[in-house]
Amino acid sequence: MKKLTKLKNVNFVFLGTSLLMLGISACSSEDVLENVEQEVNYASRDETANFEMIFANEKEIAMRDFSIALVKSLNQSLQFRQIIKNEAEEAINLDPEVLIYKIKNLGTETGTVESLINSNLSGRNLYDIFEIMPTLTVLVPELPEEEFNAENWDTSTEIPAVAVRLFTSNDTPIILSDNSQHVISKEIIPAFPVVVVKENERIISNRQSNFLEIEGDPFFVGENFSFKFSSPYFSKWFLRPFFRNDQKLVDAYNFSKDIEGWQRDYIYYGIEPANPNGPYTYDYSETIGTMTTEQPQALYSKISEQTGDPFINPLIHPNHNMSHWKDGGYEFCFRVTSNSKAGAGQAQNFKFPVRADQLFELEYERGTGLLGALGYFTFKDISSKSYNPNIPTIGWNLETKATEFIITIFEEDSTEEINQSISVDSEFATNFGIDINLGISEIVKLGLKFGGSTKNTRSNSISVKKTLITDDLGDYVINFQDKVILSETVTGFGNLYPKRFYGANNGYIKFNYYPKAVQ
């Protein structure tokens, strides 16, 4: 095995100081980004561990043996490389992954994929490895700057290295196409062709006890194993619904724009200037829409400070392998607090998980000199992406609820303390009654806005179990009279109607909150 860097003539004082500094920096949690940059400086071109020693359990050793055979097999067979490329382009659950069991019987120049790999395995065969890890998978990663991916892989000339995604270490064992074995630091992304051996976390086999409980039929049935997606929604055959502009929201914009009316008057009550009274409709609910941030660095630093939160780990990653993040995800809570005429106000909580790669995009910097003369990428900067949780929350009936909602957003970490309570002053509209001209006996809203009535303001104590020591991302006031659609832009593809964002100046989160049809 190559050892590219060696410590020479290092005295003990320097060694002790270095150990202390490394220990302090490794344990610091305040500024992960800074640490990443420091560690890259220390370790970018070094191997970080002994290849043989890094495989810690039966599954990892199985992946090691398979990977050694895989490199040799990729070297030997153009047809095998083409099979991996084709299957990766076909994709499993939208990721460029190849389930090895599924391709084992496909033909190569010298026999099947299984026989080719078996010829390069020493002391065991592929079936033994399937017995340990039926969902053994090869990922063809998308490297930054389109350095390498399934689509641009030239199988006639490019023989990729093989990296292994471990369960027990963030560092990455890698076998180059010359069969040399190395371990590279977790901060490094190869800038050369590489595939990744991993266990597929979104597929289960019939050897797992919950196989029959999982909804749906197997997507592949072999001689010894059958495979299902662990959730039917991971299947690429699951079609995403098509979204379009809601005409009622557009009509509300058009009816209200000239008179500065309330768009929600039309959406919830059908009220517009020519039809000033109307009953409440249950067809709409205020919905948490697209969320993003204008300050990704600040948001990342704010919410990634706890153990268990994702942090940047640029090498071909774990859970969602198109990204480069340490395991774990964020869990956001939107607490919607609304005062009620019926008495005590209400706080309702809406929680959803978000992966780091759904909120943040990473930018990279190219370097050279990895494992001799190979290229690599390191983390350079972070930018924001948008995620739409699309969660219906509460319908807004002004007869029973106040004219404003307060939304408190936090990212949940391990809770230390729960505490009571907050008090909210609210305005209530009073223009409700029976309109005999409508021919219905139910109570309707009488008139635009507050009608001819006076507003009723009162304070209700709202009992909220406040979770302390969470990443508080701010309170946001939503008013019934806030515009839902802000403007209209005519394009060749149809008219665009951008919706209001709340929190644009907050620094952490901005998000849509608007009425959306729920039935």
């Binding site: 150990l19 309702q348 929680k351 998980p353 969660i391 729960i418």
Partner: protein, 178 residues
């Protein structure tokens, strides 16, 4: 020689300060704490409970909470949180429940989210029964009934509650995990 000892001492401090939670937990005896319940026909045994403080508005300690979650897959899970007022001796009073089932969104199932069911409304004909006692620092008991997203009578007309059955509690009364 003294220098080498110092280096070894530094190394030991660093190694111990970087111990993972798993390593720390492995040294503790396994907890007997458990909250069990049935939801949508399935039984869930919540173990490895996380305990925390329950405080009043002046942040005086008035009780504790215990929460745990069962991960079904990498996005689907159920979480339960029970809140108690107690003197940590003999007296205990149930102070609330949160049940949070994460599910795929009905209209866009790639997204997963959860409504938090936290209100109990026996007075509105939607009973939630809980019977608990405290002995030797442990709270034991049973519960069953509906929990709601909202206690507003208007919301209750169109927001379905969830029913939790065969609930049992057997937990230590403490406000932290030590």
């Amino acid at each position: 020689m003294k220098l080498i000892k110092n280096i070894l001492l530094f190394s030991f401090i660093i190694a111990t300060s970087c111990s993972t939670d798993d390593e720390i937990q492995s040294q503790k005896p396994e907890s007997k704490d458990i909250i069990s319940l049935e939801y949508e026909g399935k039984r869930f045994d919540f173990k490895n409970l996380h305990h925390g403080k329950y405080t009043d508005k002046d942040r005086n300690l008035i009780g504790f909470f215990a929460e745990a979650e069962i991960v079904i897959d990498d996005q689907h899970k159920n979480r339960v949180l029970l809140l108690f007022k107690t003197d940590f001796k003999n007296n205990v009073e149930f102070a609330g429940i949160e049940f949070t089932p994460f599910k795929p969104a009905p209209t866009y199932p790639h997204n997963v989210y959860a409504y938090v069911y936290q209100y109990i409304m026996t007075q509105h004909g939607s009973p939630f029964k809980i019977d608990i006692k405290m002995e030797n620092g442990r709270i034991t008991g049973s519960f069953e009934g509906y929990v709601h997203r909202s206690a507003d009578p208007f919301d209750m007309t169109h927001m379905d509650p969830v029913y939790l059955s065969a609930g049992t509690i057997d937990i230590e009364a403490k406000s932290d995990n030590n």
